[in-house]
């Protein structure tokens, strides 16, 4: 039977199942395949809240959402078009997010009494009419998989484990994607387990054929390649991109990379990722606690490494005193805070942007630092690189803010050419002539003299230093001078960062000022609102301290300034304070990113009164 192919612009698919169902793997295989086809994409996993939740339970549901498109996209999609539900719990947890009329591919084989009970279903939703508003495609994935593998000698358990690849095969057929990327992956992954490789390959192909031959599926879809800027791309998650950015900065600066870190959700992947790169001279010191993580990094910076520490909110709190020490000793370190829901242990696996003020002010004394915030998973690469560059060239601690949403989300990174990356200039002093530890250049930067250099033996530490000479000093005027110096050094960084660009008109009714990971949702929302003929401009901040020099001027040209944030108004507070401007806050703290539609509605609401719409 010839089935028609319908070309669509974009689609959002969510794979959901039990933690043991291999949903992350299924999702990442689909991702690699659409990436290889040249689509733009954005993904977001949703891990179960409990690591040891019982199989089949609501708490044990694991999900992976993928948005891919023939045009440029910024978010993993508000609501999936397609939900693949491997069991009743997965259906229960994810149904509310599905688009009205969306497609549900459901594994009927798992809808037995026990699983229905675990998912708190009193009746089988496949048998009542509760799903009548959706396009439900029931497939007994379990049985079909077992039948496909009948003649293999694997155990039943091993066979059943392949069922996610049956679902993947169906999806590849539905979206007209080739199987070869996944086939190749299976070949290398299971090179030493040929039977498992064979089983998965067979099941994948069987799923594909199933779509092709059965009557259930009538339409296939095609999403054409996106027109992305030229270049070589790879898919990266935010945490992975942070790691790559630092190694790149290490290669560019010629300094070894030192990471002092203590495992913490959702930042541990950076430690894990970096620990794989020892042949790049990367040292990952898994410290005894958060404080040792940063203290060791400060020691490594003193000794001349590119030193970093990675953590999340609770860890940043523990590191604050040490950040003050890095401010005082004027050593270059980068502190990465992958923000999560707080306070206290809060929502470890959920995202939030509520550490901005902690990064800005969370120290005793006047202790300014530079703060950057990444806007997307791929931007994490550039931010880690830039944070390293600023730290090394300005002898200053830099805090890089990402968050749980960026950490685990993924998108294509246009891999920069090494030569096109900005230079990172590091000048270790070697000449004892006229050397003073706290002399400064025109940018208030002190010289970096590292142990091992003859004739430059000197002592630094947390006590106030005599200007220029660096000996301990309690003189009143000197303290004032040094406090000013440390502030001026941070402010001076503004000369080295780009001005903000306005997306849209440079004056008008409304500008949306966003920062960090809300970039994608805000950008898509603005695009949608403009399609309705409305005028709204967008300014996105990646440099949180100091702000880009033109920011105040830029936003002063608008009647309304809307600031959406995943906190209770932290950037709003900084903007009001610095620019004496009036801002409209739009805040959300649900542990989840903004939906495009939420921002859209808010923009419409703000414009509504003024446009008479």
């Amino acid at each position: 039977m010839a089935k028609k192919i319908q070309v669509i612009d974009d689609v959002t698919i969510r794979f959901a199942g039990d933690s043991g169902d291999g949903m992350q793997l299924t999702g990442s295989q689909f991702t690699d395949t659409v990436a290889a086809m040249g689509n733009d994409l954005s993904t977001l996993p949703d891990f179960p809240a409990e690591i040891r939740a019982p199989a089949g339970s609501l708490a044990g549901v694991s999900g992976f959402q993928l948005h891919f498109s023939s045009s440029d996209i910024q978010t993993p999609g508000d609501a999936p078009d397609v939900l693949v539900a491997m069991n009743p719990a997965a259906l229960k947890v994810n149904l509310k997010d599905l688009k009205p009329g969306g497609t549900i591919i459901v594994n009927t084989g798992s809808f037995d009494t026990k699983n229905l009970r675990l998912a708190n279903y009193s009746t089988n939703p496949l048998e009542d009419d509760s799903l009548s508003n959706y396009n439900v495609i029931p497939v007994d994935l379990t049985k079909l998989t077992m039948t496909t593998l009948e003649d293999l000698t694997l155990s039943n358990k091993e066979k059943e484990k392949c069922k996610n690849f049956f679902a993947l095969g169906i999806l590849y057929w539905m979206y007209n994607r080739p199987l070869d990327v996944t086939m190749k992956w299976l070949e290398s992954k299971f090179a030493k387990k040929p039977e498992i490789m064979e089983a998965n390959k067979r099941v994948l192909q069987a799923g594909y054929n199933y779509g092709d031959t059965t009557e259930i599926f009538t339409t296939r879809y095609d999403v054409k390649p996106a027109q992305l800027p030229k270049g070589i791309y790879r898919n990266v998650s935010g945490n992975e991109a942070v790691a790559l950015g630092f190694i790149t900065a290490s290669l560019k600066s010629g300094l070894n990379l030192f990471l002092g870190s203590y495992p913490i959700t959702p930042a541990s992947e950076i430690l894990q990722e970096l620990s794989r790169y020892k042949n790049y001279g990367v040292i990952t010191f898994q410290a005894e606690d958060e404080i040792a993580g940063i203290a060791s990094a400060i020691g490594a910076a003193f000794a001349g490494n590119l030193a970093i520490t990675t953590t999340s909110g609770p860890g940043l709190s523990l590191k604050l005193e040490s950040i003050g020490l890095a401010v005082m000793t004027e050593l270059p370190i980068v502190i990465v805070d992958v923000q999560r829901g707080g306070p206290s242990t809060g929502l470890p696996t959920k995202t939030e942007q509520a550490d901005l003020l902690q990064a800005m002010f969370g120290r005793h004394g006047e202790a300014p630092v530079v703060i950057l915030a990444a806007q997307s998973p791929a931007d994490c690469f550039h931010c880690a690189y830039e944070a390293s560059k600023i730290a090394l060239e300005h002898m200053v601690p830099v805090i890089l803010l990402t968050d749980g949403y960026l950490a685990f989300g993924s998108e294509p990174l246009n891999i920069p050419k090494f030569d096109e990356l900005k230079e990172i200039k590091v000048n270790f002093v070697t000449n004892p002539e006229g050397y003073h530890p706290y002399s400064r250049d025109e940018n208030f930067v002190r010289p970096w003299a590292i142990p091992g250099t003859p004739g430059l033996e000197h002592r630094i530490g947390g006590l106030e230093k005599k200007d220029v000479y660096g000996n301990i000093s309690y003189e009143p005027d000197n303290h004032q001078i040094m406090v000013n110096n440390r502030l001026n050094k941070v402010l001076k960084v503004a000369d080295f960062i780009p001005n903000v660009e306005v997306d849209g008109d440079t004056e008008g009714e409304l500008v949306v000022v966003s920062w960090g990971s809300t970039f994608g949702a805000v950008k898509e929302a603005i695009r949608n609102v403009r399609e309705d003929g409305k005028k709204v401009s967008h300014v996105h901040l990646r440099h949180m301290n100091p702000f880009p020099k033109n920011l105040g001027e830029v936003i002063s040209k608008f009647k309304n300034i809307l600031v959406p944030e995943l906190n209770l108004g932290q950037l709003s507070l900084l903007l009001r304070n610095q620019f004496k401007c009036d801002v409209i806050q739009f805040n959300k703290v649900k542990g989840q990113p903004f939906k495009v539609s939420e921002i859209e509605n808010k923009i419409n609401e703000v414009l509504g009164g003024n446009n008479g719409n």
């Binding site: 040249g38 001279g281 040792a292 203290a295 060791s296 003193f302 590292i450 033996e457």
Partner: protein, 346 residues
């Protein structure tokens, strides 16, 4: 001061003065820290290290001012974190000889975690703990080594907590060189410092230090001429544990219990006395020695309690790096970024 370098293989000829910085030393008059500083400066020429390769790291407390007075690289850290900072220095550049100057509050209270983990990992650091059994810089509160019942500014009715025994902790946590010395025995202190410098691995030296202001005389029974012989036993490798003004007392091991015997009682002889084996592969005797100070009637052992070798953390770490570089080749940007599923947009 000018230093003369003969060449890089033979040693530079330093004198103690080469290790004195130009900063005025500001401990209280009579403080035991002066002696420790002097002995370290006197020993430093013996280390066989170029001055620029020596780094002193400290935390907070009277003892932690130490790096300012040494004409080496120095880092005065924050309270408790010296071992962690020093670990970073050493890992970043394993060619450096990294020392930690710390106190009983700094290292055993707020910095306890870093201390035990540095010992556990056998990071090649030299930790000199100035134990005065009191908080000096904050003016006289009890410390984690203050004896139970001690009356201080923050314990007017006497403390009710049991003290830490620094030697026991270092030994228990896996330090590979554990020694005790006293501020008022300069020659012996110099010897312990030099031996720590030469040890490859975590060297821990507890220095019993007098704080004349807040805990004067805490160790006088050990350090003063009249009482020292009866209260201190000097440990020397291969020598029997003999002490007393007339060298007439010895320690005998009765099973696992150390007992004091009289060598002149006609019953016991030198052959009964425990012979010190610094390099004992079994830590049992190290623990027995560490307990001497907790047991009424036993002398305080000073000297090297145990020294043994095992691979160091920083050594193994850099071996692993070198190993991987020779196996995989030194990493490059091309390998880093393009050894993945990439695709090209033309």
């Amino acid at each position: 001061m000018e230093t003369k370098i003969d060449n890089l293989t033979t040693q530079v000829k330093y004198t103690a003065k080469d290790f004195a910085s130009d900063v005025d030393v500001k401990w209280c008059p009579g403080c035991g820290d002066y002696s420790i500083l002097a002995q370290v400066q006197r020993s430093s020429p013996e280390f066989g290290e170029l001055r620029e390769n020596i780094v002193w790291v400290s935390g907070i407390g009277c003892s932690s001012r130490f790096p300012y007075y040494m004409n080496t690289y120095g880092f005065h850290g924050i309270h408790g974190r010296a071992a962690a900072i020093a670990t970073g220095v050493k890992l970043a550049n394993p060619k450096l000889q990294v020392w930690v100057a710390t106190g009983d509050g700094d290292m055993l209270s707020i910095g306890g975690n870093h201390f035990i983990h540095a010992c556990r990992k056998n990071v090649n650091l030299k930790i000199v703990l100035f134990n005065n059994k009191i908080y000096g810089l904050t003016k006289g509160q009890y410390s984690p080594t203050s004896e139970k019942g001690k009356v201080t500014k923050s314990s007017p009715y006497g403390t009710v907590d049991w003290p830490f025994n620094p030697i026991k902790i270092a030994a228990g946590a896996g330090a590979t060189f554990v020694a005790r010395a006293m501020d008022r025995d300069p020659k012996h202190l110099q010897e312990m410092i030099t031996r720590a410098a030469k040890h490859n691995g975590l060297a821990f030296v507890e220095v019993l230090q007098n704080c004349p202001i807040f805990n004067d005389g805490a160790f006088f029974h050990l350090t003063e001429k009249e009482s020292r012989p009866d209260n201190v036993v000097y440990l020397e490798h291969g020598k029997p544990l003999v002490f007393g003004a007339n060298q007439d007392k010895g320690i005998k091991l009765d099973g696992l219990d150390p007992v004091v015997i009289n060598l002149n009682d006609g019953v016991h002889s030198i052959n009964d006395v425990w012979v010190h084996d610094e390099h004992d592969s079994n830590p049992t005797r190290e623990f027995i020695l560490s307990r001497f100070t907790d047991v009424e009637g036993l002398p305080t052992p000073v000297g090297v309690i145990r020294q043994y070798n095992k691979p160091t953390y920083d050594g193994d770490y850099h071996h692993q790096i070198q190993d991987l570089i020779s196996k995989k080749g030194k990493g490059t940007y091309e390998k880093l970024m393009f050894n993945a599923n990439t695709w090209e947009v033309k």
